[in-house]
């Protein structure tokens, strides 16, 4: 039972990180890009590449993965978000980010191959450590650290406050002289870096595999919806809940019901509490 809890928590932590990425992205652009999972995929694949092929030390590979994620985040804004938002109020960003996510996945498949490849150990530790193995706790620590860093960023930095201002009302922020395009671009750089870091830290769980992104985008969104859009605490709780629930459903009921139960919970939460567990209901002025 403890194994179910720990392994569920570890995979849930990666979903929580994806939900945090969605939160940052949404705060400045009101976009929930399908590229979210691909940032983590890139972190895992490039992390393995840096370490196994280029023989980077762990810290160098970590920084490299974060930089690759950040660059991909910036490209996401430039290619799939900026022009779409400037020309349409409708949800065309869903298509544009899906297109970019698909292109990215295919490109990585062509370059890296379609079989999963190993992700090296980050910390020296024997494989017989059981539930204390780094593959379980590294994603959890990463998700918690990302949430804490975001809170500090929002509360203690000027840029964090600019993010919050754009989150409240982007038009008002622009009217007050905030360079909203630049702030949004910065937020996508942060988003990419966060995803790259999370993918790197969870690489031992996911392997370095080109196809993890789409699943992560979908399940990260479910975690976000369960926890509540805009709430970092909600993202953590939603991710952990979904991870543990999926592992529990697979263990106690059967793997064929795992995804049905996960999506079923999403529907249940949305029916009972449409704003999610920690989400704030926004009053619409009439």
């Amino acid at each position: 039972m403890l194994t179910v809890l720990v392994s569920g928590l570890a995979s849930g932590a990666l979903l929580a990180a994806a939900a945090l990425v969605y939160n940052v992205m949404f705060s400045t652009s009101k976009v929930l890009g399908v590229t979210t999972g691909q940032t983590a995929m890139l972190g895992g694949v490039f992390g393995a590449w840096f370490m196994t092929r280029l023989h980077f030390p762990v810290i160098g590979a970590l920084l490299g993965s974060v930089i690759v994620g950040a660059v991909f985040g910036l490209l996401t804004d430039l290619i799939a978000v900026r022009r779409v938002l400037s020309r349409s109020d409708e949800h065309l960003w869903l298509l544009s980010t899906l297109a970019l996510a698909t292109i990215t996945q295919q490109a990585v498949a062509l370059w890296w191959g379609t079989e999963p490849l190993p992700f090296p150990r980050i910390i020296h530790q024997d494989f017989g450590a059981g539930l204390l193995d780094q593959k379980y706790w590294l994603p959890v620590v990463t998700a918690l650290a990302l949430a804490a860093a975001l809170e500090l960023f929002y509360r203690r930095t000027l840029y964090g406050k600019l993010f919050l201002a754009m989150s409240e009302d982007a038009f008002a922020a622009r009217a007050r002289g905030i360079p909203t395009d630049r702030i949004r671009a910065l937020s996508y750089v942060i988003v990419g870096a966060m995803g790259g870091l999370a993918g790197f830290m969870a690489g031992q769980l996911t392997f370095a595999y080109f196809a993890v992104g789409i699943t992560l985008s979908l399940n990260g969104f479910i975690a976000l919806a369960v926890g509540g859009l805009g709430s970092n605490a909600g993202a953590l709780v939603g991710g952990a809940a979904l991870g543990i629930l999926s592992a529990g459903a697979s263990y106690f009921i059967g793997g064929e019901y795992q995804n049905t139960i996960a999506v079923g919970v999403l529907m249940l939460v949305l029916l009972v509490k449409p704003a999610g567990l920690f989400g704030a209901q926004v009053a619409r002025p009439v």
Binding site: S7, S96, T114, S246, G254
Partner: protein
């Protein structure tokens, strides 16, 4: 109502189309009316591409070899390759294109059951002979698809060989069956359970698991608690199989694993935490791809290895060589059918393949019949040791 189509929308469409456009082989542009056009449907990219890429090496090598020797009755073979991107819908579209636009006389492929299930009725409807590579038992049917012939083994053959080894050689009776939740994984695990039950063995633990589940320690703990003394995994997913091997190794559990060939496939070896984790692991393999007691291979296998080695990188062969040999044999079977039929008439090709008995390939010896579409006989199957991979082939499991 007016449909709006701004430039950013078009940009999205072009981007998506650019990503999804398949690779078109240059051979398609080099049409030669005198040549014999053979369609080759293969998942050269996408999740099912590892084995397909290896098979493609064998297919291309065989075509070149036949053409270098003067072709078939003076006519060169022209391979018309289409990459199905591991997608059944794309495979169907390309099957139609090969038949109606490229006018191929025979189609080899697709190379997995999922795509083959989708294309086989389409190809059969047009009466085109089809050499098909998929292991799902129900795939071929002499009455429904009389011109579809299978050179590869069936799942039943893998399952029976693995069950025999687990029950009669290792003398294990408490079986845990693990499958993934894909159609292939679930149906194979179900067939394996059914085969065991026919022998009076009810698995002590049976589970279907999402193939993307990142850790399988809990499932193996459950199997151990249920008293399992052998793990029999049935899945074609490398990551899934590697997680089973790693969970067993990390737990320090010495239970044997006997199952699907994926558990000894070359890509999996890179994913295991320690090479020793593959000890006590066995999988269904082929007598043609197995070293004998003195470390020798069958002459046909050795010959093909040496002939094709320069195309595979000149060093040790790093992936399962049976994929290459199987691809090579499919073209040789097509050549045999065309020579025997004296041309490319579909009915004559069907008759030629039906009359084929003991055709010596590299991967196996093939034989069909008026009502037999499975050309691979049980005697070609053996059980291999997963930790014995060397130069693309394996050693036999101890008996």
């Amino acid at each position: 109502m007016k449909l709006r189509c701004d430039r950013s929308g078009l940009g999205v469409i072009f981007a998506v189309m650019g990503a999804l456009l398949p690779n078109l082989s240059t051979t398609a542009w080099a049409k030669d009316k005198e040549s014999i056009r053979i369609g080759w449907l293969s998942s050269l990219t996408g999740p099912q591409s590892t084995s397909a890429i290896a098979e493609n090496k064998g297919v291309e090598f065989a075509v070149d070899e036949i053409n270098r020797a003067g072709g078939i009755n003076g006519r060169k073979l022209e391979l018309v390759t289409r990459d199905t991107v591991s997608d059944p819908k794309t495979a169907v579209n390309f099957a139609k294109q090969l038949i109606f636009e490229e006018k191929v006389v025979l189609i080899i492929g697709p190379v997995n059951s999922g795509e083959s299930l989708a294309t086989i009725p389409v190809v059969a409807k047009e009466g085109i002979p089809n050499i098909i590579i998929g292991t799902v038992d129900e795939l071929v049917d002499a009455d429904k698809y009389p011109r579809a012939f299978r050179p590869i083994n069936t799942n039943r053959q893998w399952i029976e060989a693995a069950n025999d080894y687990a029950l009669n050689v290792l003398r294990r009776k408490n079986v845990a069956i693990l499958g993934d939740t894909t159609g292939y994984g679930a149906s194979t695990a179900k067939a394996a359970t059914s085969a065991l039950e026919k022998q009076g063995i009810k698995p002590v633990y049976s589970a279907l698991i999402d193939q993307n589940k990142t850790d399988l320690t809990d499932e193996l703990n459950k199997a151990r608690a249920a008293g399992a003394d052998v793990i029999m995994p049935w899945s074609g997913n490398t990551g899934f199989m590697a997680r089973i091997v790693n969970a067993r190794g990390d737990m320090g559990w010495s239970v044997p694993i006997v199952g699907h060939p994926t558990v000894m496939a070359a890509p999996l070896r890179k994913l295991v935490n320690k090479p020793t984790y593959l000890d006590n692991t066995f999988a269904a393999g082929y007598s043609s791809m197995t070293y004998d007691d003195k470390g020798r291979l069958p002459a046909t296998t050795k010959t093909l290895q040496e002939k094709i080695r320069p195309r595979l990188g000149d060093g040790e062969i790093a992936y399962s060589f049976w994929w290459v040999a199987l691809g090579y044999d499919t073209v040789k079977l097509a050549e045999h059918a065309i020579r025997s039929a004296g041309g490319t008439d579909p009915a004559a090709l069907q008759k030629a393949l039906e009359d084929t008995r003991n055709f010596p390939g590299v991967y196996a010896t093939y034989g069909y019949g008026p009502k037999e579409r499975n050309g691979f006989s049980d005697k070609n199957i053996v059980i291999n040791q997963a930790n014995s991979f060397k130069d693309g082939v394996y050693r036999a499991a101890p008996r």
